[in-house]
Symmetry: C2
Subunit: 152 residues, 2 copies
């Protein structure tokens, strides 16, 4: 499989960032994600909905995955997320053989992306300053909600 180029990853990240901002505007935790197909088609997008729907199971990645509907195969797909995926969302990527993960930032939370890399998933960490600032501000203002979202 081809390596994703950084310029495309940056463009795709804007979709995930738009989702994170939409979540924040709704009063939610600002994490967004998007699932892109092997041909670059946007298959699904979504954001964390713990606060909005009182739903602890809807992390950004699971929301984007659900939004893409049933797919026969995830070969060649890319999960783009504003934040390093937690174990739950990393498990999703591994189980369904999603080929790549683009991570906006892993400075505020370091999830399972190293584990995914060990298991053959292509990881591109963008160290995006806007993603990191958005999370840093949110966590500082809402520490209890954030800890609830990561089970700590």
């Amino acid at each position: 499989m081809d390596l994703l180029d950084r310029a495309t990853a940056r463009i795709w990240l804007t979709t995930a960032v738009a989702e994170a901002r939409a979540g924040l505007a709704e009063g939610g935790i600002p994490i967004g994600a998007a699932l892109y197909g092997a041909d670059g088609t946007l298959l699904g997008r979504g954001h964390n909905r713990r606060v909005q729907d009182d739903d602890p199971s809807t992390h950004a990645e699971t929301a984007a995955f659900r939004s893409a509907g049933r797919q026969r195969s995830y070969r060649g797909t890319t999960m783009v997320t504003t934040l390093s995926p937690c174990w739950y969302c990393s498990g999703l990527v591994r189980q369904f053989n999603i080929s790549r993960v683009v991570v906006g930032e892993a400075a505020t939370f370091h999830g399972g992306h190293d584990w995914l890399a060990e298991h053959g998933v292509q990881i591109m960490l963008l160290d995006d300053a806007e993603c990191a600032a958005m999370m840093r501000e949110y966590i500082a203002a809402n520490p209890a909600l954030w800890n609830e979202d990561i089970g700590e």
Copy 2:
């Protein structure tokens, strides 16, 4: 934390089996789960909804987790599932520090329960004949749907 006794685990498994049967009756994949609190209260229950809702994100364990709503902590909770949890559902257990997993059977599918045990989760594998027979029959009759559900 106390070890779960096998008799209690067997009783709790009946809730997960009832969920699996309900899913089967709806035309769905027969995997069920239930989340029990530290005090033995049933917090949530659910089953796989890929077929019923065209929703690939709702595995039995995620359905039970969602059904339990927001919890401040999962300390002392037990996830009871008719089938060994896939990486996605194993990741859920690890991220939210669910203390124990009761597995109906791991003969038809071997997921991430060994990995969870390595990371301190108490695992009780019941080798339940009814759970195994239900999955074996379903997989034989619906191989494509089953492979879709585990991303293969």
